[in-house]
């Protein structure tokens, strides 16, 4: 047993830390630390900085502009980014479609789209879920019907994250109505400028706009935009979900969030007594910290299996369930810590004029509510339990 990084890995960690120290703009890190909404330009600016360094698509093959990072390097990079309050890389092009095209795309598709993902020309979004197809994704109904050298797409997608900034969408569409539902699905690339597409924002519980509904009415998509074979979309969807599960435990986010709650609890006082000195609050904090440390090691154990070329089965589902619950527990403490002052609707005044809460904490309640989504999206924790139960019991 040796829980430390190898000298090579430790050197990479130092390199990443130095890069983040030098290159991550302070004003962007401050927004991330405070849980405030990032502007499109913030995300583009950070992507450009990473692209400049060659680290925007670390796990991609060298030939397509990546660094061929293995699981440990990816992990180190993600952890250090979280620690530095870097914005997360918008995953739809870089972590989802990119790997899909590298594995399943035609040479033409790779040549066209991969460079445009890296240089920021294209902002991709995801058209998977539908109002009637959430956990039961395979029941999706958006139809693509062959018409000459086009598909004609009709239907509705939902929960399309950051679709308001996107110019393209990758979709799962139904190309065959009979047989098993999984066997009639195709993976299609669609230009959002095509006539017949309407994007409508969905306002979320805490008041923000991050997701959208996308309506397709007789949208004509060239058949060359099909990825892989017709009706082979489910295989691609599962491949993509596998990539979505990298860093699924969110340990880096949780570590960062826990550090913030700890320092908050050392700053805030109640009747002159620090919150951290109140046994009930300290107990909550200490307990979740133990859980997070265990999660950190569980995550590294699984990472180590993957790094040594082993194959993970259903284990990522464990990481998803426990990792999201721990993160939500920490968000709960961040909200709880503020006591009565957690109540105001987030605004500049809460930290500024009114100085109701310490700097960077005006969003604590909003972030708690917003992060109830993390145990729902990307396959809800109930679906993850089904996956684990099937693996254990059948």
């Amino acid at each position: 047993m040796d829980l430390r990084y190898s000298p090579h890995e430790a050197a990479f960690q130092t390199q990443v830390r130095a890069f983040l120290d030098a290159e991550l703009p302070h004003e962007i890190a401050a927004k991330v630390a405070a849980g405030r909404e990032l502007a499109k330009t913030d995300m583009e600016r950070w992507h450009a900085i990473l692209h400049q360094r060659g680290w925007l698509a670390g796990p991609w093959p060298l030939a397509f502009g990546g660094q061929e990072w293995g699981p440990v390097e990816q992990h180190i990079f993600e952890e250090e980014c979280c620690r530095a309050n870097a914005p997360r890389i918008v995953p739809f092009g870089l972590k989802m479609l990119g790997p899909v095209l590298i594995a399943f795309g035609s040479p033409e598709q790779k040549k066209t789209y991969l460079p445009r993902i890296l240089d920021g020309t294209d902002w991709w979004c995801q058209g998977y879920s539908e109002p009637g197809a959430g956990s039961d994704l395979a029941s999706l109904k958006t139809r693509a019907v062959h018409d000459g050298d086009h598909y004609v797409v009709n239907g509705q997608k939902t929960w399309t994250t950051l679709g308001q900034f996107a110019n393209r969408i990758f979709c799962l569409v139904r190309t065959k109505a009979d047989g098993k539902p999984q066997e009639g699905i195709s993976f299609l690339l669609v230009d959002l400028d095509t006539p017949g597409i309407e994007m409508r924002p969905i306002r979320l519980i805490e008041g923000g706009y991050e997701v959208n509904e996308v309506f397709f009415t007789d949208v004509r998509v060239p058949v060359t935009n099909l990825v892989g074979a017709e009706n082979a979309g489910w295989t691609i969807a599962k491949f993509l979900l596998g990539h979505e599960r990298a860093n699924i435990a969110g340990v880096g986010f949780s570590m960062q969030a826990l550090d913030q709650v700890k320092s908050l609890a050392r700053t805030l006082t109640r009747g002159g007594k620090r919150l951290i000195d109140q046994p009930l609050f300290a107990a909550r904090l200490a307990s979740v910290e133990a859980d997070l440390e265990a999660m950190r090691i569980t995550n590294l154990r699984m990472l180590s299996v993957a790094a040594q070329g082993g194959k993970l089965g259903t284990e990522p589902s464990m990481l998803k369930i426990k990792g999201t619950v721990i993160r939500q527990t920490i968000n709960d403490l961040a909200r709880r810590a503020l006591g009565a002052s957690a109540a105001p609707f987030p605004s500049e005044d809460v930290e500024g004029n009114l100085s109701l809460v310490p700097d960077g904490h005006a969003m604590n309640a909003a972030s708690y509510f917003s992060n109830r989504k993390i145990s729902i999206y990307g396959g809800s924790n109930e679906i993850q339990r089904n996956i684990l139960a099937k693996g254990m019991l059948s």
């Binding site: 959430g134 979320l204 109640r270 709880r336 009565a340 729902i376």
Partner: protein, 351 residues
């Protein structure tokens, strides 16, 4: 033994429930609760006409209630409709003005009160209040004063000659910075800078504790109404939402969790009944803390599970369950959270 509500209270609860269902539907509620003045002044007047404030004040002071079960009857209905009107500050004011022997007529006629108890460093605890009163002038800052954004008068708790005193202050005489809350309704920061006030009562410690007890009971009952409504939405959704070719309520994993919520909501109902019954007796404070402590835990569990079992739909602003969830979680931040009341219960055990 009889766990039925009295006829009078049943009639009040029914008429209030009907009024809110008809006049305060969730669309209207959301339209007014999240934009200044963060409630609907015309509807406030209508609630006063309906007898909501009367019900919180004893007969010998010009009202027709004021007992624990009057409070729970009113607030359960307010919670069911997620009503953002400033009834909680009216209750607190009724307890304090009543204890002070002050004129309750303005309150009964619908004057909106804010009650300034908590402070930045003392959100829940009377022992650590730092606002002071000297020669009829108040100095300090009251924080997160519910309904404060458009309150017309304030009742302020301040230190005076080694005890806590109560002052009546006109809104026009203080600096008030109002804001909306994340779960709707308003609060305000109230800045007292040698502000003139009229002494209502010296040695008000017991009166303040009584008001806080009544407030904790009211918030617990409000949560109960909101939980019942949110849970009804969940049960309906479990029966109707189809995935994998069947209603999601056919899955045992969800069935058991829905049942657990129903059990917890009954626990909440029972502790609230116990606390309402204890009002005016020697165990009032303990029972109100037990209620607020349990409800704080249960309401959060209900909120989180209602969202999780619905899935993404309950994360949207448009779907009403999200607003119920916010209220249910944020009630724990008012007048003492679950840990604060647990500590009070522990202190009783340890005494």
């Amino acid at each position: 033994m009889d766990f039925q509500m009295s006829d009078d209270r049943r009639m009040l609860a029914d008429s209030l429930g009907r009024y809110l269902a008809a006049q305060y539907p969730i669309q209207h509620r959301n339209a007014v609760a999240y934009a200044a003045p963060w409630h609907d002044p015309a509807k406030w007047d209508a609630l006063v006409d309906l007898g909501v404030v009367f019900a919180l004040i004893p007969e010998d002071r010009g009202g027709m209630g004021g007992a624990g079960f009057d409070i729970t009857a009113v607030f359960t209905e307010l919670g069911r409709a997620l009503c953002p009107e400033p009834v909680l500050p009216a209750l607190l004011a009724a307890r304090l003005l009543g204890a002070a022997g002050a004129d309750l007529e303005p309150l009964l006629s619908g004057v909106r009160y804010g009650v300034g108890l908590g402070e930045l460093d003392a959100p829940y605890d009377l022992d650590t209040i730092t606002t002071t009163a000297r020669d009829g002038r108040l100095l300090g800052r009251k924080s997160v004063v519910y309904g404060g954004a458009d309150a017309e008068r304030f009742v302020i708790a301040a230190h005076q000659d080694g005890g806590l005193a109560l002052y009546d202050v006109a809104a026009a005489d203080v600096e008030v910075k109002g804001y909306g809350m994340i779960d709707g309704g308003s609060a305000a920061e109230v800045f007292l800078d040698a502000t003139p006030g009229r002494l209502l009562m010296a040695d008000a410690g017991a009166a303040l504790q009584d008001a806080l007890d009544a407030g904790a009971l009211a918030l617990s009952a409000e949560a109960l109404g909101a939980m019942e409504h949110a849970n009804a939405m969940l049960v309906d959704y479990l029966k109707t939402r189809q995935q994998f070719g069947r209603p999601i309520g056919a899955f045992q994993a969800l069935q058991h969790r829905a049942v657990d919520l129903a059990i917890e909501i009954e626990q909440a109902r029972s502790i609230i009944i116990l606390a309402a019954d204890a009002m005016g007796g020697p165990q009032q404070s303990l029972r109100c803390s037990q209620a607020k402590h349990l409800v704080g835990k249960i309401a959060r569990q209900v909120a989180e599970e209602v969202i999780q079992m619905h899935g993404g739909i309950a994360m949207t602003w448009e779907y009403p369950a999200s607003h119920y969830a916010k209220r249910l979680v944020m009630i724990d931040h008012q007048l003492g959270d679950t840990d604060f009341h647990l500590e009070r219960m522990m202190a009783v055990l340890q005494a």
